[in-house]
């Protein structure tokens, strides 16, 4: 690598450290090495300053929060799961109801088919809305589970 090439690459350099060919050139060329070091030092100094004198804003903002509308999901994941469990339990319990047995006795087994259809459709609608409305959360959950492995 020539000094001119090094110079051009420095302008496109994104990370504050030299890699591969550039590092090799800097090792053998004190002038380019000094130039790169000056640039990185300048950036580091520019990034360093903190508004140290400014107060911690946390108490000020925390004090405001109770007066603001609380951010809520349309329906929280927990509520959905609770609704799902309730739906499941009611499906299991329906055949045990006295009314169900009464209907069954008068109309016979043909009655259970539309009944199962209605329940099936409601479960599908529930699951569909649940998945659509929680897509991002489910995706995050999946990502976290996969990355935890």
């Amino acid at each position: 690598m020539t000094c001119t090439q090094f110079d051009m690459l420095m302008d496109t350099q994104d990370i504050p450290s030299l890699s591969g060919d550039m590092a090799a050139h800097a090792d053998s060329c004190p002038s380019c090495a000094a130039q790169a070091a000056a640039y990185f030092a300048a950036l580091a100094l520019y990034r360093l300053p903190e508004l140290a004198s400014s107060r911690d804003l946390t108490p000020r903002i925390s004090a405001l929060l109770p007066f603001l509308p609380a951010p809520r999901r349309l329906v929280a994941m927990r509520d959905w799961l609770a609704a799902g469990v309730l739906l499941l339990i009611s499906m299991v319990l329906v055949p045990l109801l006295a009314e169900f047995r009464l209907l069954n006795a008068s109309y016979g087994n043909g009655y259970t088919v539309p009944m199962a259809l209605v329940l099936g459709i409601s479960v599908t609608i529930y699951a569909g809305i649940f998945i659509v409305s929680h897509q991002e959360q489910l995706a995050r959950l999946l990502r976290n589970t996969l990355s935890a492995r």
Binding site: A38, R47, L51, R55, L57, R60, R140
Partner: protein, 185 residues
């Protein structure tokens, strides 16, 4: 709800806030107030106004938190709010500029360090002055906040290539200024 540890991810904290734990939001404020304050200072050039700016930004973030979809990182999403707040605000302070002098009690620089720092600020200031304000902020997001091109693009809505070309020119100018300094020594 059990308290979140200091190592909790932004996503975990956000889930908590959305589940109704208002206090968890403080952790996000603590984590990102420096960046928001620095941007506020660039827009307002005054510590009090920068604090009001930061408060405004965090309030918007809190109220709109359900709208955070996790497509970018929370810090990028928050930077977008700060950017829009700064660009849209009617300000007396004029246009966005890099932080020139720090408010008191900042780290003490050696004379050489202070000299290099001022040189950097001056050349970034020149680079920013040559650009419309909406792009000038991008230079600070890159040089000072160390954000990646893609994240700056997410935060400001400008194409990556536009940001890259402005950064490229500023970087060139900065390196020229530093080079000229070095030659003079």
């Amino acid at each position: 709800m059990s308290p979140l540890g200091p190592e909790a991810t932004d996503t975990e904290i956000i889930e908590r806030v959305l589940d109704g734990d208002r206090d968890a939001f403080a952790q996000l404020v603590r984590r990102y107030q420096r960046r928001v304050l620095r941007l506020g200072y660039g827009f307002c050039k005054d510590s009090d106004a920068a604090e009001d700016f930061a408060q405004d930004v965090f309030v918007k973030a809190y109220v709109g938190l359900a709208g955070f979809k996790g497509r970018s990182s929370f810090s990028t999403w928050l930077t977008r709010i700060a950017y829009n707040t700064g660009i849209n605000a009617k300000r007396k302070a004029g246009r966005y500029e890099p932080l020139e002098s720090e408010p008191q009690d900042v780290k003490n620089f050696s004379p050489e360090e202070e000299h290099i720092r001022m040189e950097t600020v001056a050349s970034l200031k020149r680079a920013m002055a040559a650009l419309p304000e909406k792009y000038a902020v991008c230079l600070d997001l890159y040089f000072r906040e160390g954000m990646k091109y893609g994240d700056i693009s997410d935060a400001t809505g400008f194409p990556v290539n536009t940001i890259k070309s402005h950064v490229f020119r500023a970087k060139h100018e900065l390196r020229l200024a530093l080079g000229a300094e070095g030659d003079g020594l």
